[in-house]
């Protein structure tokens, strides 16, 4: 046990002396959370719109006021005729134009009122979201004011945003950021620190010492496990305090699953180190062969369900995909272990496979 402690101590010294590692470990999470939380948002806030009201009656005024009072939209101008619509879009001043048909109030009573929503779809995601928001507001208005008005109720507008009613993107990003950070810290830094021992030739000396190979590896991995865990907690606290991220499920379960994913990432790092001869190779493997698929295929930014079948299949072998599901389920839906045991099992399997492969590789290399 003393040997083990001596080793872990030395490993912490390495980390503390290495400014770059420290920066990656503690600077990166903060930057990523801030970046993803503030800069990259898919939610709508103060979107500029114009309104072309050809009717100008009490109903259109009420609807307009309702739309503008939500905080999602900001009025640029009232337009006077249809010719101005294209002009407004071309100048890039507005994202959406709402057109109320003529004689809206009277047509409304007879169920023939028409509203046209025109969006700037150069950014299709934003466009779709704008349409959804606006139609939802109009529909809500109709239901509230004229419960009996039956015609003006397209079924397609019957949408509900569960779990994230305000479509707050940060709710989706935080679990993703935690996953990415854990992947970087655990996998990349572990594989690099293990290959460094190989490159420097100190690994030989460690193997010639009475410490067993497994002990050496565990001792090297423990500090990274502790630091990764601290990191995950920091990101969670940031998510909670800065972005008001909910935690519907049990904290213990969340931390437990986080630890499991850290183990998966660490064993992957060990596996990479058994293949890579130099730190540079280890870095390349972790960065390109791992980070990119993790970011793209984990469902963290792009929904996996919308991808071609082949990519969906590949996504299944990305451990991060399963962890993102687990995190979202616990944090947003309040799921407990009976809901996510399958995903948990997948992670456990990943961990076992990585460890088994590392042990096998390791033996071969020693020969």
């Amino acid at each position: 046990m003393n040997r083990f402690i001596a080793f872990v101590k030395k490993e912490f010294l390495h980390i503390l002396r290495d400014k770059q590692t420290l920066l990656i470990m503690f600077g990166l999470p903060v930057v990523q959370v801030v970046l993803f939380g503030f800069a990259i948002t898919t939610e709508i806030k103060d979107a500029s719109i114009s309104i072309l009201d050809l009717s100008r009656d009490h109903v259109t005024r009420k609807i307009s006021n309702k739309i503008l009072s939500t905080g999602y939209f900001k009025l640029d101008t009232y337009l006077d005729h249809e010719g101005e619509i294209e002009q407004a879009f071309k100048e890039g001043k507005v994202k959406e134009v709402i057109v109320f048909g003529r004689n809206f109030a009277t047509e409304f009573e007879s169920g023939n009122a028409r509203v046209q929503l025109i969006v700037d779809a150069t950014d299709p995601n934003t466009g779709t979201t704008l349409i959804n928001y606006t139609s939802a507001i109009i529909l809500d208005f109709i239901r509230g004011e004229y419960p009996e008005a039956g015609m003006f109720r397209p079924v397609a507008l019957e949408t509900r945003m569960w779990y994230n009613p305000e479509l707050k993107s940060v709710y989706y990003f935080i679990p993703g950021v935690i996953t990415i950070i854990l992947m970087i810290v655990s996998t990349m830094l572990t594989s690099i620190s293990l290959t460094r021992e190989k490159e420097l030739g100190t690994m030989e000396v460690l193997l010639a010492s009475p410490m067993k190979p497994a002990q050496v590896i565990i001792a090297k991995v423990v500090p990274y496990m502790i630091l990764s865990f601290i990191n995950a907690v920091i990101i969670l606290i940031m998510g909670k305090t800065i972005f008001g991220l909910p935690l519907e499920g049990s904290l213990a379960l969340l931390l437990g699953e986080t630890l499991l994913f850290i183990l998966v990432a660490l064993s992957l790092g060990v596996l990479i180190s058994t293949h890579a001869a130099t730190q540079q190779v280890a870095l390349m493997i972790s960065l390109f062969a791992l980070m990119l698929p993790t970011i793209l295929l984990s469902g963290f930014i792009f929904p996996v369900e919308n991808m071609p079948l082949i990519l969906q299949l590949i996504a299944n072998v990305i451990p991060a995909k399963w962890f993102v599901i687990i995190l979202k389920d616990i944090m947003l839906k309040g799921s407990d272990i009976t809901d996510i045991w399958k995903e948990t099992l997948v992670l456990v399997l990943f961990c076992l496979v990585f460890i088994a492969a590392s042990v096998k590789n390791y033996k071969v290399r020693l020969e």
């Binding site: 003393n2 001596a6 010639a208």
Partner: protein, 246 residues
């Protein structure tokens, strides 16, 4: 008085169909400086790994420090020291941290580490730099320190794998002085090297060619046997013989 601390009989290591080491025999006595020579790929490293308990031989017998390489590797590891040509110390740790770490992984108590670190620092006059990062020390000091650290758990045998690779002649000579000192105190030294002039410093040497030991004896014996002026010639002779047979 002779007491063998390394006994090797018929030791063989096969990788697939390839004999990396083929039926070698030799003994090393306590306090001896034993030179283990051979070209790259001759099987030196494989022998060393087997004796250090890192890999298991295919067949044969070998006892190191009284323990069997089949099954008692862990006991062997406790009784040997190992130093590679790359010094095996951590550049980003201080002198004292390096000593403490190696003392720690060999299972020394804190009191033992403290006492031995103190003596070691006194002996090498490292008092002023003990809290400096190793990276700031000159090469010669690092090497000396690496050697002392390999001795920290008082092993019976120390394996030195090309300890003087890439070091200037003066530092090399100084290093050999510390090797002799250790040998005088009863430690056995098993040294691999490329430098044929260094071979002359050894009490006895063995020369490996293609997985077999082709020459074994004191430098003087070997030179006489091969009618050679120096070890270089002995080596060339042995290597040529191999070409001739082929």
């Amino acid at each position: 008085m002779s007491e063998a601390v390394i006994q090797v009989e018929n030791l063989t290591k096969k990788f697939g169909d390839f004999y990396a080491v083929k039926n070698i025999d030799f003994e090393v006595e306590r306090g001896e400086v034993f030179g283990f020579l051979g070209a790259n790929g001759a099987g030196k490293t494989t022998v060393m790994k087997m004796l250090c308990g890192l890999i298991t031989p295919t067949s044969g017998k070998a006892m190191v420090a009284g323990f069997n390489v089949f099954g008692q590797q862990n006991e062997i590891k406790k009784n040997i020291g190992y130093m590679s040509q790359r010094f095996s110390l951590y550049e980003d740790l201080t002198v004292i941290e390096n000593i403490t770490f190696y003392g720690g992984i060999y299972g020394l108590t804190n009191a033992e580490i403290k006492e031995r670190a103190y003596r070691l620092i006194e002996m090498h006059g490292l008092g002023e730099v003990k809290n400096q990062l190793l990276a700031s020390l000159p090469l010669g000091w690092k090497q000396k320190l690496a050697f002392s650290v390999a001795l920290i758990h008082r092993p019976q045998i120390v394996f030195l794998d090309e300890p003087t690779g890439g070091v200037d002649p003066i530092t090399r000579r100084q290093f050999w002085e510390s090797i002799y000192e250790a040998a005088h105190s009863g430690i056995t030294l098993f040294v691999t090297t490329h430098y044929m002039d260094e071979a002359e410093y050894c009490d006895r040497i063995s020369m490996m060619v293609d997985g077999e030991i082709k020459g074994l004896g004191t430098p003087t014996e070997l030179k006489q046997l091969h009618h050679a002026k120096n070890m270089d010639e002995v080596f060339v002779n042995l290597a040529r013989k191999k070409e001739f047979i082929e």
